[in-house]
Amino acid sequence: MQEGALAAPSSPSLTQPSAADVAALVAARGARRPPVLIGLSLAATALVLLPMAFLVYEAAQSGWAPLQHLLFRSLTAHLLANTVELAICVTTLCAIIGTAAAYATERTDLPLRRMWSALIVIPLAIPDFIVGYTWSSLWPSLHGLTGAVLVMTLSLNPLVYLPVKAALRGADPGLEEAARSLGLSPLATFRRVTLHQIRPALIGGSLVVCLALLGEFGAFEILRFQTFTTTIFTEFTVAFSTSAASALAMVLVLLGLGVLVARHFAAGRHGRVSRAGGGARRPPIRHRLGLRVIPVTAGCLALTGLSLGVPISTLGYWMTRNQPTTLPAVAPVPTAAETTVLYAVLAAAGAIMLALPVALLVERHPGPFSKVLESFTLSVQGLPGLVIAMALIFFAVRFAFPLYQSPILMVAAYSVLFCPLALVSVRASLAHAPARLEETARSLGKRPLAALVRVTLPLIAPGLAAGFCLVFLSVVTELTATLLLLPSGVKTLAAQFWAFQNDQSYAAAAPYATAIVAIAVVPGYLLGVWFDKKRGA
């Protein structure tokens, strides 16, 4: 069953294994990396790295001198300052808000928890344009950094909330109880025990927020906040300067890798967080809120009111406006909804399949090799959808023309685009699934695949579900890659929404946006229900 496993260290990236790598290999228990896993991970990473190859190729086309001219100018410094400021503010706020919200719905007896859980996630699926438009019409002077921080925090905090909630759900309550019984205050218990348990999820979520910010476009365009991504867009589509756009995008990649290195140090020296022993899982005790229920409910109300209520009221206003438009809808709402849901489901499955081998490799066979592989896979999240779509056009036209503008390429683009979201969720729950159980299954004669399907996957099901929902929600609102790669003649909800909104036919656009929000409620709600069922089991 292990034949060929010894070949693993001689895989391409390991021709010169470092001392640390060898040490990690020796240290990791039973950790000869299965070649199948390595092969799958490498394939996933290679697919995800196509956009980078495209950037290097395009930037190299024009040579160094003109690039130098375009890169080292005051605009770049301005963009760098804007982007870094924004990333720090929004990531910090999302980490705090997401964790607080996850704790409130997961570990307290807050009434209507299931409803809050669903409501907190949905803003992720409200198109940036609606959020940006709403805020800039409510508060016209809301521009620049303040506006960008507000809008992005409100729409990205679910990216921290979901993985942290999954981690809280899977964490061993025994440790917290032990800490409490040894006299630690609830706050100290949270800081010293719970925070440690949710650390991988929190860091993973914050990382995705940070990377998603780097690649964000729509909201900043409306809020008049110039970042690398907005400028890459103009260089590509207004200046027709592919090389300038590529050079700026490579700066963005470097920023993303910088974030990943920072994560490496933040995550550092922490051991396993999975349950040590066997025994039946017991759900953690929920803290009694008592009178504190009032401020906690008020907090949830404020969060969902700002992030969900405000944009939805804009939709309501649009709906009531009687505005004639002669623009025929290429796809009526039900057709567009069907297309959207189908693509979102396929893309979510695709992203999970790309992420799973990388996550398994990183969690079960840690070492510099898997670390590098994971970093590359994650760094793609920092790239704008436009760059990823252009790269896939470039490669598909040259090497896989029959796939061009076919549903398969569209699904591949979404899977690559949102693979990091799946990876973070899957990895966080793998950290909680004890490897020992898989090893036991193996020692009882199960084949690796059977052990994976029968033991590991059920253990990490919350992470798989969270990842699936995150990708699903993101696909539903994706626009830039969609407009470039969707087969001609069909429209997703977001694409048809864009067509009307671009035409300033807001009343005609509103039903599409409403359908997007309605679709987003489903995974948000299912996620909540599913979690609650598990608790009862």
């Binding site: 189908l342 056009i393 036209v397 003649g489």
Partner: protein
Amino acid sequence: MRRTTLLIAAPLSAIALAATASGCSTLGGTSATAAQASGTTNLVLYSGQHEQTTALLVSAFEKLNPTIKVTVRSNDEGSLAQQLLQEGSKSPADLFFAENSPALEQVQEKGLLAKAPAEALAAVPAQYDSPQSDWVGITARVTCLVVSSSVPASQVPTSALSLADPKWKGKLAFAGSETDLQPMITALAGKYGTKAATDWLNGLKANAAAHLLPDNETVTKDVDSGQVQIGVVDNYYWYRQAVDDGGFDKAHSRIGYFAAGDPGYVLSVSGIATLASSKHKDAAASFIKFLASPPAQKIIADSDSFEYPLLPGSAANAAMPALSTLKPGTIAIDQLGDGSTAVSLLQQAQLL
């Protein structure tokens, strides 16, 4: 155990779904083969033009030519031009309908355009067509100002150059990344030299520091709602805003034309071309000829895109002054080129 089954079943059924779905119309992508089977020609049109008007034109064309089906791919013209450049000779597109001539010129320079049908070129005055006969002008618009009702007529600037005057500090809005602005910059650079054009752009940027907006729709909306006094746009944006306000008399703004012959007063053309790689050149040519014909030009005039039809004898929307009464500057289409002069000036001014 049931949960395990579910876990395997979910992705598997997703894949099965994909397999069946890739053949079904919901995901798209199979219309070309279906068209071949039924004996119709399927044209793919990449359109950066006003989506509403394009849809009207396509359905009128399909009614006249039942054997030709036109599939429209809408996006902003810059993204489509980039997509065409990446696709090169393998492009699935048969036609490219751009909002402004520089986008067509970008594609033309890479040799990706076929010669336009002579009949259509002859129908539209030569000054509105591709200098190399590669594309045909279909509609036109002019640069202008959108002026808030609060600004008295006597104070409305009549030359583009005067927009850089410090007296407009904090009162001016424009969208530096809109492709519509580039013809104006190119024209000013052609008339006064690149140095003067750079100074002018820097002056403009300083005056509009608080109102550097993402697009012309926002410029028009902000002037109309009184947040800023004047904005640099193309004329049709104001009409669309006025329709949105509920009528031309309900708008809180008006159009300010530049003085006759002002270099910043530029007429720019939206045109259509056949891709050199098209396998349906005859069908594509008939679509272009249709756009340059009286019925199509009337659809354009009657639509709410508020652009000027270019076929002689086609009257514009009644709400607009006739094209013949407009007195734009003298810059020709080939001098507008691919917009690269304007882009490099915008980059120097750190606006791009």
